[in-house]
Symmetry: C2
Subunit: 345 residues, 2 copies
Amino acid sequence: MDLSATAIATPNIALIKYWGKEDEKLIIPKNSSISITLDESLSTKTSVLFSSSLKEDIFYINGEKQDLSNNEVKERFNIINMLRQEANVNEHVAVVSENNFPTAAGLASSASGISAMVFAASKALSLNKSLFELGIIARQGSGSSCRSLAGGFVKWEKGSRKDGLDSSIRQIAPSSHWPEIIDIIAIASKSKKKIPSRSGMKQTVETSILYKARPEYAEEACISMEKAILSKDFESLALLTMRDSNNMHALMLDTWPPIIYLNQTSLEIIGEIQNLNQSMGKLVAAYTFDAGPNAHIITTKEHEKEIRNILEGIDGVESIISAGIGNGPRLLGEKDSIIEKYIKL
Amino acid sequence: MDLSATAIATPNIALIKYWGKEDEKLIIPKNSSISITLDESLSTKTSVLFSSSLKEDIFYINGEKQDLSNNEVKERFNIINMLRQEANVNEHVAVVSENNFPTAAGLASSASGISAMVFAASKALSLNKSLFELGIIARQGSGSSCRSLAGGFVKWEKGSRKDGLDSSIRQIAPSSHWPEIIDIIAIASKSKKKIPSRSGMKQTVETSILYKARPEYAEEACISMEKAILSKDFESLALLTMRDSNNMHALMLDTWPPIIYLNQTSLEIIGEIQNLNQSMGKLVAAYTFDAGPNAHIITTKEHEKEIRNILEGIDGVESIISAGIGNGPRLLGEKDSIIEKYIKL
């Protein structure tokens, strides 16, 4: 009996960041977070096949066979085991994943990868799961990946239950609510990031002197951000976005040993976006940085050309990608499966 | 009647930083701070002359005539007016100051300049002032300058009085207590800093979300630092120093608009010092940054050569200066006056 499915999912860019867990095991965050799910300008396609013709579990990312005894890989792959067990399926599984963008350079490849994997696997196993249930599973692989399970503007609620069952995602508004919003991504380094987010945020919670001041502020920032999104108030969105990015990177610097993801190119981009906003007399663009040096410039379509020009003039910007707001993951047909590209059955 | 004196003073490098005022007018800090007063490898020489042959007040820094109607200059020069008034002197004054290092690039030229000025002026006016009284005056010109009035390891106590009269400096230990300590300074940019400390720290206190977590921590850090100094525990001194530098720069990043003094060279120095400490299996050096990109590497003489070699290999390091621990300001003789270099009487 062969069970298979192929899904496509996209990264999300957090406007209010997730950086710190309340519960390490259940992956309950210290504060709620809000993100934009990007369109398929950046995407991960994942095919999943449970088949008795497989002699072992196999996992490929971008053509590279993953070592399933590696702890980091194991953590992610464990999602598949959870779903397989729930569906009472005993077959081995092949998971094959392809990104159309650089992996693990702070471009949230884990978010699109894991949401595509959860989406495809639960479909292959005919598990009829709600978005809410999928989110709880996805965040076991990578916390912020759960936000990629919905399209548009998405909030991951911290929740208040000890068991984390109300820490769930919710769509604030679909992409059609504010389709003018775009994310212009400036790749400032294609190298793999040095400190993985999971261990980085743990270090911050454990050692940062200033961290205790974040959760309450971030919770309030989420409320303000939701209002800004619903009322399409770009200036409020921009200010909250930049301040939260600064806040998170400040806490990283205050961590011991310090975590420094930003580089000179990132710092220059911050300066140039400040200059642009100042020269316009209002906020027309916001920078935000995840756990890497690449800048995400949140703006509206009318400013795209101008901002691309600015970014092109900055030393160290290796490439620029624009993405709109997307609709979340979707299933593809059987003919779109990429299993046979890598695995001879 | 001519009243004159010449003094030499040196910068100090804070191990636990001053960044934020409790009282803007009295210059009472939000937290106590601790610094090392450097030796005369870096120094400011200042001559002061009150004379009836002067037709106006004149102020030179490094050969450049200062505009006494400029607010920043006025603030500093006001110290002279306070002292002149107290001494009941009506003559005009000439103040001439020379640094042997780049001005206002985060090398605390204001600290050595102001402490030399206060020291020379109070001597010229025969005001018999205690260190404590001099400190209260000096900090009107630049808060951290008061720490340069004593030698060795110096604490500026926050104090608890509303009028700031117990916010004073105190020598923790003289330079002879731990003469092996040196500060290796890597100049990462000779350009004048963009945001003056005075307005920068005000912005931080007013806008940083995380700032509220600093004062209590910094107060405790001062207590731990004093213990580390008294017991010559270099590893504790190094850890406290690096963490406090990171903490202050984190708060600067969390300020709106963000204050970013560190550049790529600074970040690389941080990384290299971390590597060195890791390879040694213990902390043998600590980086610390004031309001600028230049690194101060606090270490002991035995590691000087090694660290200079490391710094020389870092892109963007323009020059390297080593300084030991100094003894605070001192008076020079009449023949050392530099007044006539600039002013024809």
